[in-house]
Amino acid sequence: MGDDVVDASRDAQDQARDTFPRRLRGHGQARPGRPAFREKHLGIWQTWSWQQVNAEVRAIACGLASLGFKRGMNLAIVGDNRPSLYWAMLAAQSLGGVPVPLYQDAPAADMAYVLNDADIGFAVAEDQEQVDKLLELTESCPQLRHIVFEDERGMRHYRQAGLISLARLQDLGRVWDAANPGQFDAAVEAGSGSDAAIILYTSGTTGKPKGVVQSHRALLAAGMGGVGFDHLTDHEDILSYLPMAWVGDCLFSLAQALVAGFTVNCPESSDTVLTDLREIGPTYYFAPPRVFENMLTSVMIRMEDAGALKRRMFHHFMSVARRCGSAILDGKDVSTGDRLQYALGRVLVYGPLKNVLGLSRVRVAYTAGAAIGPDLFRFYRSIGVNLKQLYGSTETCAYVCLQPDGNIKFDSVGLPAPGVEVKLAANGEVLVKSPATMDGYFKRPDATAEVIDTEGYFHTGDAGMFDRDGHLKIIDRAADVGKMDCGAIFAPNYIENKLKFFPFIKEAVAFGNARKEVCAFINIDMEAVGNYAERRNVAYAGYTDLAGHALTYELVRECVEKVNADLAGEDGMAPTQIKRFLVLHKELDPDDDELTRTRKVRRKFIAEKYAVLIDALYTGKASQFISTQVKFEDGRIGTASADLRICEACAYPAMELAA
């Protein structure tokens, strides 16, 4: 079981020299035959062992070197999760360069900023689509000289200088390697733990993206911490399907994989993730709450279509699971009767259900990135999926707090991770000091000084609090937390998350800072509300029509009022109950700049764009006409307009908290 995983005897000098390329070489020697990467090709899973990966990375690195890629240069990586793109990252690191993964769905214009900021001269792209985007940018990014593409499909007629296929690059590399023996090994030897290992650009809820520079030492510290915490071995399987530019993927598919030496599986395409999940059956799984939510929604929708017997069986055993499932998972005392019932449920319902979802083999599953609904969280835990939350950010390698096995609280993000120091500032902001904190923002010492104080604490910008057992609870972004006229603390995210926990509500934006009362915009979930409407024989002509339907408003009002009842029961939250709301006529979309690429609400932008609607909410109008520009995925622009009805919700008196 990975004896070199957490080798305490590793001396300090060795640690200072610990880098990803060295780790890769180590796995090539320690477990040459173990699977390192898998990818489906022509319907069959292909496996690369650690030994083979060493050879592939070496060929890519030498190829890049033959084109002039050197220590200190940055290599852009653009595409879906592909083994060869991970190899390209390792290849860049081997030469002392720094990989810069970009969000593959970003339009060309967004990429231009990063390419110029990071002074990118070399890029590795997945396919024609990404190459086209990069070629579009050759004027605005003249320094971009070499583009390597993995998939050769459709590339036959491209004649631009500097374009080269990955296979060809590797051929060049092998020739170069033979002509320059020892150069590659020397380059790997020259690397040190304090070198930059990766630059991740944060999507930035405000302003231009900033490049977060993480050193080998920081990333490996985060990787080792996580691997030790959950006792991960080289026999784990993970499915890597989240954007490579996101810190979570970097932590799981790169840092932890190279610490523990486990297997990274890449899906065949983004459409096949659910099938691939079922086929691979990962033992270690990471997904944002959205994914877990979609899974549950699809299960529930299909359950409603099932026969009466199956439905009754499902609901019966789900109530058993709700009663005792989490307790059994946590190893607490449960009566024998319940245990028997649960065992039967496992055979009839939970087992098959987990199998369908591809979660049968999961030992540890994590979610992060956004708050997860307690019901959703409980559902997975109750059917025996060890789902836990973690808390972190790009700047901290997504490694700040983890929920330990057997000590899970639904509303907290867990205890500070091993080696991490967490404290709260006077205003409630969470401050973090850990070996996994970034070196700084790329070429932005000013921005770095803003977030890392003189004592070395990173200011997360999140407002949080510790509960009695030392679990950290995140309430909102510190900057978003405001005060209402009556003096009550207004935490919009906290309210919005409560709303979003309803399957019918996809997105919500609450307003209330420096106001007398709280009002909200609601985005419905087309699938869930559409299904609800169909079941009631209500016809609708599309998103806008459905959003404005009386039935939808009634449904949303019920949700809002439940949230109000919830808020009324919480300490100090009663004044932040939602008085009025409206259902937006269009989905909030990153293409319209309303959400970030990681789908967080851009509060300020929305407040400006929909100022008319906010006015209407607060002046108590019955309805308001709005027409907005909509950008389609192919770049065309259209308009969506509607007369939006404003609806009142009933508020509850504040309840005295029982001591």
Binding site: Q128, R159, Q160, A161, D271, T275
Partner: protein, 271 residues
């Protein structure tokens, strides 16, 4: 760097080979109804050849003559210089002609993969019994064919629906699967009967791209019937226009677009 557009417009610069299929003086009648009257045109290797015309012009009949479903009363068909009175379905298939249909003709209850595998039938050598037992040479053969089928699935980007029964798929995807089934026969000439009928704009764009990719990457000669004039003019090398069973024009898209008779046939006289 100068930008070279990926072959998204049927640029006449594209190399087409010698004549692969030559139809001369084809006439076809059903009883007293003259479906085709004295039609001659040729198809060059690697080109995209479109047959257009108003409803009832005889386009599908023409395609059916090419792959041997109908036997013309007059005329000759020369395939790779070999002349014959008429085609025969099996001979056509063996000679490397595959087709898709105006109304989708797939096995609705079978999966996408199985449907595409049926397209490989002609290439299977082992006998039925061995195939049923999945034993010996049949097993090896099946694996080889499966690989070809998977390559097509990859080519058409339908991995996600590999195991989905065709009947459950939306229309646009079914059309794509049908193209896949035709491609499974590794044809030299592909006949497409209204490949884009009933599709929305996005599906049409996808289909266009796949047709161009097939033509470009697999080197397949394509004969297609299409109603959407925009599509035809964009992707074809040469267009033949039929009206009431007669050929009224033949040439590059530009020539055809400016042809008086074509304008009259499409817009009606008196405009």
């Amino acid at each position: 760097m100068d930008m070279i557009q990926p072959a998204m417009n049927g640029s006449p610069a594209r190399a087409t080979g010698p004549v692969i299929l030559d139809l001369s003086h084809i006439s076809l009648a059903f009883g007293g109804v003259k479906a085709l009257t004295d039609i001659s045109f040729d198809v060059r290797e690697h080109e995209i050849r479109a047959i257009i015309g108003p409803n009832g012009a005889g386009k599908s009949s023409m395609l059916n003559v090419i792959n041997g479903v109908y036997r013309p009363q007059q005329g000759e068909i020369a395939l790779r210089g070999q002349s014959r009175r008429n085609m025969d379905c099996h001979a056509a298939a063996k000679a490397g002609i595959a087709r898709t249909f105006q109304n989708i003709a797939l096995f609705k209850g079978m999966t996408v993969l199985d449907n595409i595998m049926t397209g490989r039938n002609l290439k299977m050598r082992s006998n039925f019994l061995l195939q049923a037992l999945y034993w010996g040479p049949a097993r090896k053969e099946e694996i080889a064919h499966r690989e070809k089928a998977e390559a097509i699935i990859d080519f058409l980007e339908i991995q996600a629906i590999r195991k989905t029964p065709v009947g459950r798929l939306p229309y646009g995807l079914q059309k794509r699967v049908e193209l896949g089934r035709a491609l499974a026969a590794e044809p030299d000439i592909l006949l497409l009967d209204e490949p884009m009928a009933g599709m929305n704009v996005e599906e049409k764009q996808d289909m266009c791209r796949f047709i161009l990719d097939v033509n470009d990457q697999l080197g397949t000669t394509i004969v297609l019937i299409e109603h959407d004039m925009g599509v035809v003019m964009d992707i074809s090398d040469r267009v033949v226009v039929l009206d009431y069973g007669r050929k009224i024009a033949d040439g590059t898209p530009d020539e055809v677009r400016n042809n008086e008779e074509v304008i009259r046939a499409y817009l009606g006289a008196g405009h």
